[in-house]
């Protein structure tokens, strides 16, 4: 698993995806890149809210690219 790179102490890995739960038909997606999360999500606070990312690199991209361009608005 990728080392912790967030500046936020609360950032952590969590089991969020439910790809292996076949009773659930919805999916969880990275709030930066949009990729589906199969099992483990990187949870970090960004843009004033706790967000779900697929990896720390996506959290960084969210901070350095997404927020400056699109703000904190959801898609």
């Amino acid at each position: 698993m990728t080392p912790h790179t967030s500046t936020d102490r609360a950032a952590r890995w969590e089991e969020r995806g439910h790809a292996d739960d076949y009773l659930v038909t919805s999916s969880v997606h990275c709030e930066c890149c949009g990729r589906m999360i199969a099992r483990h999500a990187w949870i970090a606070e960004a843009g004033g809210a706790e967000r779900v990312f697929c990896e720390p690199a996506c959290e960084q991209l969210y901070r350095t690219f997404w927020l400056p361009r699109h703000g904190g608005a959801s898609r």
Binding site: G17, A19, S27, H29, C33, G34, M36, F65
Partner: protein, 578 residues
């Protein structure tokens, strides 16, 4: 490896070539032993090797759409089931588009490679299984409105356990496909490729050991990432935007927009598809893996082809694809044409955006459609079911320094044109014509490549057919003053009729180019026209000798020479060219 020496580089190059050769040999085995022409002739498959973490360590030059997607498909399977779910001799299969696949027909078979009881990595082959059940024979339902109509969807399940078939899974698979013998043959060809990989990797690991080989594949990835970063650094930093449309989804006549903003900064490319339309009812929605693969494909067109193709070269390329849009479909959105059609368009928008940054490497739009024609039925002589997925080649766009290629597979794949002799032998059609379409290449200083026309005579009492084409209304765009390429079409002349009409006119289909389950009869003729590429640069700047050569080759008409290129045909060979 702390210091780099020339001997390191030579050793690493040899390792890279050896790993790539293993992937190529896997592909040759697949091609030679599969039952379907889509494998034997169409090369619609890919073979690659991965490390225990799911990072690609090598690939061969087969279908690039699947290569890009394989990065996601393998990682997602490992994330979901865990690498420890693999025992020696196990093979897992899945074709779930929402789990990293490109579209439902493409099945991934994945096998752990062990050496001395230790997991070295994985061998993977992805192949397009031509018939997967669902509402349309041949797997590409042009009017599907959810994934359940598109065929049998398999999450990651074990197909082989310890070298023995998991018969219950095979039973489910073969019962739900219309042509079980083909599925059995094609999947076994793919399984054979994994055995080849296992054997060849075993030989490599006997010589070099697991630890050293893993260290060196890691170094190859690092070097590949660094090389790709340098390639991207050579592109001027900036934001480059482009928009194109899918002309309709087969369910309504509305066009749907694909928008990209490509940000190049500090050796990294970020392709942000925010602003793309929401996902649609029809089957043109692309999966995340499609969008990523298409973006990689476009970037690879613009960078050094010698960069080793492993996980490293993908690393500096980031993709943002909002879920629930045309470029990142969510369950249960229909998606089968998102690969064959929308995939091409996504490559095009990324290339279109970067044309501003790299005008000397830019090209106009290619034909950008698979012109997918699917058909099947029961063989009247043998009583056996048959089905086929057929696609056409298109013209490529004129580029800054050359004309576009004629009749070449759209850039999402490297598939070959199925020979007429093979097609007519395997299926109850007679190919009455297969030729380049005059004037279908967009005019330009560098002309777009030509599309094709194919006319098929139905020889069976009846055949069920379907189609999934785009670019029938919105032509491939020209660049820098070049003109658009020709559009696609599929029409039918019923036995005894004198003219070709659209399927909408003949059968009342909603879309003339996206439909399924139409029955045609002996004596009917089907005409398929593929798109040409857009032209590059002002046609009036095209060298006169090239215009005259095109006239003599019947690539353009005398009228086009005169009106578009300003060249008056001379002599009978030019004036009566068509």
């Amino acid at each position: 490896m702390n210091s780099v020496t020339s001997s390191d580089t030579i050793e690493l190059t040899l390792l890279h070539n050896r790993l790539s050769s293993i992937c190529r040999e896997m592909g040759v085995a697949t091609m030679r032993t599969a039952f379907s022409p889509v494998f034997n002739e169409g090369f619609d498959f890919v073979c690659a090797l991965f490390d225990p973490g799911g990072r690609m360590i090598a690939q061969a030059e087969y279908n690039p759409s699947m290569l890009g997607a394989a990065n996601f498909a393998v990682k997602w399977v490992l994330e979901e089931i865990g690498a420890d779910a693999f025992a020696p001799g196990d093979v897992w299969v899945h074709n779930d588009p929402y789990r990293g696949g490109c579209h439902l027909p493409e099945h991934l078979v994945l096998k752990g490679v062990f050496h001395g009881g230790e997991l070295f990595g994985f061998a993977a082959t992805i192949g397009h299984v031509a018939e997967i059940g669902g509402r349309a024979v041949g797997g590409l339902a042009g009017d599907a409105t959810d994934v359940y109509q598109e065929g049998l969807r398999l999450p990651p399940v074990k197909l082989v356990a310890g070298g023995e078939d998991v018969r219950d899974v095979w039973k489910i698979l073969l019962t739900n496909h219309r042509t079980p013998k083909l599925t059995w043959g094609d999947l076994h060809a793919m399984l054979g490729s994994l055995t080849i990989a296992e054997r060849r990797l075993g030989e490599l690991l006997d010589e070099h050991g697991v630890t050293d080989t893993m260290r060196d594949t890691g170094e190859l990835m690092r070097r590949s990432a660094a090389w790709m970063t340098r390639e991207i650094e050579a592109i001027p930093d900036g934001d480059y935007e482009f928009t194109d449309v899918m002309e309709n989804d087969g369910i309504s006549s509305d066009p749907h927009q694909i928008h990209v903003s490509v940000c190049v900064r500090g050796g990294e490319v970020i392709a942000d598809f925010t602003g793309t339309d929401r996902q649609v009812r029809g089957p043109i929605n692309a999966t995340y893996a499609v969008t990523a693969a298409a973006t990689y494909n476009a970037i690879f067109h613009l960078t050094d082809p010698l960069v080793p193709r492993n996980a490293g070269c993908y690393q500096p390329i980031r993709i943002i694809a909002p879920p629930g849009t045309l470029v990142n479909v969510v369950h249960p959105g229909a998606e089968v044409g998102g690969n064959s059609e929308t995939h091409c368009r996504i490559i095009g928008v990324v290339l279109g955006a970067l044309a501003r940054a790299l005008p000397d490497r830019a090209a106009a739009a290619d034909g950008a459609t698979g012109c997918n024609f699917v058909f099947g039925g029961i063989n009247a002589d043998t009583g056996e079911p048959y089905a086929n997925y057929h696609f056409e080649n298109v013209g490529w766009g004129g580029a800054a320094n050359h004309d576009g290629n004629d009749a070449q597979c759209a850039p999402l794949a490297i598939s070959r044109n199925v020979p007429v002799e093979v097609f007519d032998t395997r299926y109850p059609f007679l190919t009455r014509a297969l030729r380049l379409v005059t004037d279908s290449g967009g005019a330009g200083r560098h002309r777009g490549g030509l599309g094709t026309e194919r006319v098929l005579l139905v020889r069976a009492p009846e055949i069920t057919v379907g189609a999934l084409f785009d670019r029938s209304l919105v032509p491939p765009w020209g660049l820098d003053g070049g003109l658009p390429g020709g559009t696609t079409g599929i029409t039918i002349r019923r036995a005894g009729d004198s003219r070709f009409v659209t399927f909408t006119e003949a059968f009342g289909t909603i879309s003339p180019t996206k439909f399924s389950n139409i029955t045609v009869f002996r004596g009917d003729e089907i005409r398929i026209v593929s798109s040409g590429g857009g032209g590059y640069g002002d046609p009036r700047e095209r060298a006169e000798e090239l215009v005259r050569r095109d006239l003599r080759n019947r690539y353009i008409t005398p009228a086009a020479a005169r009106e578009l290129y300003g060249v008056e045909p001379a002599g009978p060979s030019e004036a009566a060219a068509v």
